[in-house]
């Protein structure tokens, strides 16, 4: 790549032109993404307990190669962990099935909130085995907050 001081005036002006044009071109997409990016800051939480992504089938090595075949409809699976609590998610089309795996489920009901940047939270209660379900889940960024009396656990954002 050419060093800046090796560029003649006209070459430098040409690079400047494309740099400046980039800000004005695709302005609509950029403006929309800028607005969403700024709004993301409203999701700042100072003291949420964050789970870690343990596994995402969409990040498996070779996932894209496989999905180019006929098996593209295999469910997407994600799992998150923090301490003794694991959250398993499986997405098939628009149906989302999940499980909260936890040795200690003695303290009453567990709820799972499905959070999206542009929508109201949706809340489901887990059944006796820790399973929960959301239907009509559209693509886009999502995270989950698992709550039980006294504690809650938030997953990182992921794009479905």
């Amino acid at each position: 790549m050419t060093r800046w001081d090796e560029l003649g005036d006209d070459e430098l002006m040409a690079e400047l032109a494309s740099a400046v044009a980039e800000e004005t071109d695709g302005g609509e997409v950029t403006a929309r993404r800028r607005e969403a990016a700024r709004a993301a800051f409203t999701w700042r939480t100072v003291d949420a307990e964050l789970a870690e992504l343990l596994h995402d089938s969409a990040l498996d090595a070779g996932a894209a190669v496989r999905s180019s075949g006929s098996s593209g409809s295999a469910p997407r699976s994600l799992s998150f962990i923090r301490g003794a609590v694991t959250i398993e998610i499986e997405v098939t089309g628009q149906a989302l099935l999940g499980e909260v795996v936890d040795d200690d489920r003695s303290d009453g009901p567990t709820t799972v909130s499905l959070q999206r940047p542009d929508a109201e939270d949706r809340v489901a209660e887990t059944d006796a085995s820790g399973f929960f379900r959301f239907d009509d889940v559209a693509p886009g960024p999502v995270r989950f907050v698992v709550a039980r009396s006294g504690w809650s656990l938030t997953t990182p954002w992921a794009t479905l």
Binding site: L16, V20, R38, L59, S68
Partner: protein, 194 residues
């Protein structure tokens, strides 16, 4: 705060809840995120999802980001990963040669580098432009207008004689070359090592 403010100031301010510092970070790295999304040839809608996820992830990651200079690399890696996730999750086909032994990541990286470097150069240039005195920046911007603005009008708008437009342009470009951004002395140019 403008986009040349050091990340060492911006990141802690955003961590403390300063929306303006956050907006400045967004302004600075939105083109980088956009360039990586373009390389992965996502649709506008998928690109919107990736972009939003990257910024949401950054909001939750701010507290853990102890080294502000690591931010450009973090954004790059996170954006690439989210692009791959979306491509994979939505079963999109990619031109992958299964015989090649370096796999998908290397293919993406090869495609990525040339355009990434170009995007980072454009970003550095815009930063350099913002470091110029307003009069010289305005002159360059007027000279870049398409269709071209006649010298008579430039002269009238900037209040400088027609005869000095050429020499001022040359001086402005020299000054641009010696800005901290173009000399690589910027606080932490986006084009730094990954």
């Amino acid at each position: 705060m403008d986009t040349t403010e050091p990340l060492a100031n911006l990141v802690p301010a955003a961590r403390e809840g300063d929306q303006h510092a956050w907006d400045t970070i967004v302004e600075r790295f939105l083109p980088l995120v956009g360039a990586i999304i373009r390389q992965h040839r996502l649709s506008d809608a998928d690109g919107d999802d990736v972009s939003q996820t990257v910024w949401l992830r950054l909001v939750e990651h701010l507290g853990a980001l102890r080294e502000p200079d690591a931010l450009p690399g973090w954004i790059r890696t996170t954006t690439r990963n989210e692009c791959l996730r979306v491509i994979n999750a939505r079963g999109r086909m990619r031109p992958v040669d299964p015989q090649a032994d370096h796999g998908l990541d290397a293919v993406v990286d090869d495609m990525a580098d040339a355009e990434l470097v170009a995007a980072e150069r454009r970003q550095v240039l815009r930063a350099a432009l913002s470091e110029l005195p307003a009069g010289r920046r305005d002159l360059l911007l007027l000279l870049l207008e398409d269709p071209p603005v006649p010298y008579e009008e430039i002269s009238a708008r900037l209040g400088i004689p027609i005869g000095s437009i050429g020499p001022t342009r040359a001086r402005a470009l020299d000054q641009l070359r010696s800005t901290p951004s173009l000399r690589g002395l910027g606080p932490d140019p986006v084009g730094g090592p990954s």
